[in-house]
């Protein structure tokens, strides 16, 4: 046993540093979440600086739990993360399999496919919501207006006109509305992160055992069977990694939500924290603790999943 003492002793500074690195911010957040700390409350100046005499117990937690959008924020956090994960994994596998074969212009296609990943999140959101999804000046609005114009023209035709006049006019969709803003965010983030999934899956496909595939072909296995029984199991580990890394990133989405709808009908826990942090640091900290709990629950599931595939 004594021969392990020295290495442990040598590790201590690093371990201590890591502990401080993590524990100090967490401890501060915990402390703030139990006291009254409101930046600019003029009626109660004693609340404007953090102090133990403003101890509030679970009052901040109660305020956050009862606040209008808390439940929405949790639901929406999970809804956004799960939808993006589902879409990126499916799209990622499809595209990766598609471009895995050699074809002319392969290099250019691959570079184009990867490029969305290098767009900054805020730029991504501004680009999508203003230039693509805008119902009047964006691509969507222009396309809908064009289709309606075309229908108008067809209605003027002598015989077929009466048939087309039964068709309805198309209405552009407002993606900043309460009902659709979460979908807009899912769309733009999926666009941005699918390349990441493609990249990981493509690398993995290249390491697929070709001899096994040839054997399968000789045994008369169709393309679907090859994909189902050889490729998919082979992709198990990369899927787990994509899911885990993306879940971590998408639980903390902020810029897209702010730019698309300013939280209208679509906010997650980080956004709720941001709203409180303008003034009520106590409530923001309590929300932060809730976010840590949520992230840990998600992490437990993910780690199990990843652990399982890594064991296999």
């Amino acid at each position: 046993m004594s021969d392990r003492k020295l290495p442990r002793l040598l590790q201590t500074p690093a371990v201590l540093l890591l502990l401080i690195w993590m524990l100090v911010p967490l401890g501060m957040t915990l402390y703030f979440s139990f006291i009254r700390y409101v930046l600019n409350n003029l009626r109660r100046p004693e609340w404007t600086s953090p102090s133990l005499s403003n101890w509030r117990g679970f009052g901040n937690y109660e305020f956050v739990l009862n606040s209008k959008d808390f439940v929405l924020a949790i639901q929406n956090s999970l809804f956004i993360v799960c939808s993006i994960l589902f879409l990126t994994v499916i799209l990622g596998i499809l595209i990766a399999v598609l471009i895995n074969k050699t074809f002319p212009g392969q290099g250019i296609v691959r570079v184009l496919l990867i490029s969305p990943f290098f767009v900054m999140p805020a730029v991504n959101a501004v680009l999508w919501i203003n230039m693509i999804l805008d119902p009047v000046l964006g691509l969507q609005g222009i396309a809908v207006a064009g289709v309606n114009d075309m229908l108008d023209g067809l209605r003027q035709m002598p015989v077929l006109g009466s048939f087309f006049s039964l068709w309805p006019e198309f209405e552009p969709i407002s993606f900043r509305a309460t009902q659709t803003s979460a979908i807009a965010v899912i769309m733009m983030v999926t666009w941005q992160w699918t390349p990441f999934a493609v990249l990981i899956f493509m690398t993995s496909l290249q390491s697929e055992d070709q001899q096994q595939k040839e054997a399968a072909v000789l045994d008369g296995a169709g393309t679907w069977s090859q994909f189902r029984f050889l490729t998919l199991p082979h992709l198990g580990r990369p899927i787990a990694i994509v899911v885990m890394i993306q879940a971590i990133f998408h639980l903390s989405l902020y810029a897209e939500i702010e730019i698309v709808s300013r939280g209208n009908g679509n906010k997650n826990l980080p956004y709720l924290i941001g709203e409180f942090a303008n003034n009520n640091i106590g409530a923001a900290s309590a929300t932060g603790i809730f976010a840590v709990i949520l992230a840990n629950i998600v992490a437990i599931f993910l780690l199990r999943m990843v652990g399982k595939t890594l064991m296999e």
Partner: protein, 428 residues
Amino acid sequence: MSFGKALCAASAIALMSGSAATAESLTIAIVNNGHMINMQKVAEAYTAETGVELNWVSLEEGVLREQVTSDTATGGGQYDIINIGMQEAPIWGAAGWIEPLTFGTDYDVDDILPAMRNGLSHDGTLYAAPFYGESSMVMYRKDLTDAAGVSIADNDSWENVKAAAAAIHDPDNGVYGACLRGKPGWGDNMAFITTVVNSFGGAWFDKDMKPTLDSAEWNAAINFYVDLLGNYGPPGSEGNSFNEILALYNEGKCGMWIDATIAASFLEVDGVAYAQSPNAGNPVGANWLWAWAMAIPAGSPNAEAAGAFIEWATSKDYVQAVGNHPDFGWGAVPTGQRASTYAIPEFQAAAGFAAAELAAIDSAAPAATDLKPYVGVQFAAIPEFPEVGSAVAQEMAAALSGAKSVEDALAASQDAADSIMREAGYYD
């Protein structure tokens, strides 16, 4: 140490050479609006004249507010001069976070429009000097109203305005009757919605500072707003604020727009006419009042130099400097702050909206009244207002999108506002 020594050396040299210039520098946090961006260039002359170095920190409105609030509240001392608005000035003055301003007689404080002076003061002391100010008014396409045979008068009734919007509404040809703010935010959709509510006789809080969003006036006003914008507005109105509507208007998509007077100077469409905001008969008025102003955080070590700069940047001379500047000219001078600006012939020639703007600003009344027991027109000058306003703003956007009924949205707004005010300790 070496920097301090260099500074000593520099000031010693400056003293020895007998120059009045000192090695002073000011850090100024500004909002990234056109007039402020221009100021960075105009102020090069100020640096050349006085030797005061100016470091600009230009931020987006929301970010600036966050930065400046936390810096001021915690006494961070990052900035020597900060850009604040009418919502903050009286509160921060009362809290002692910003220095009271005193100016020489040349500055002519009485020349500052009374509405601006009142809105930026607390207990009769000026705490922030207005750099530019604005109210709101109706801007409409005279060609469209003439073609439709309707007209919009000053302080028209809302019913007439709606009838005019309906008459010019022609979505098949890409023209929408009314473009109004719908994007959630206390300075976005709520700025406009509050003026509608004011004009219907409603207010944010009663005399005990309890929110009154469940009142009949709010209900009538929001129903009207949702109906007008929902039927005669462009699709996607819940995403439109000042900049988005300006783009739509300049694309020829808007028949009528009720928004900040400052918009008039950016309109590139011909045949725009102006009218004072519609009113449902309430004396408080239906147009808002806002100023971007400059203030000095309390305890700034460079308070004296900061005061001198503010005195220059908000003076009559500054207006002249912008007007005569080769890069800007009279169309780009900051407006809405001084009465004398409106008397300058070159400005009158460049700004067709000047008379309507001045009338709108003069008619706005920020002071507390029986009807509206708080300072502010399209906001309440209390620290909790941004929180309350943002929460309500999202509900209003939900009502506009049709995700919620107006009644449900107002009930949720009342609950949220009540819980924020209770949390802040206004009542138990």
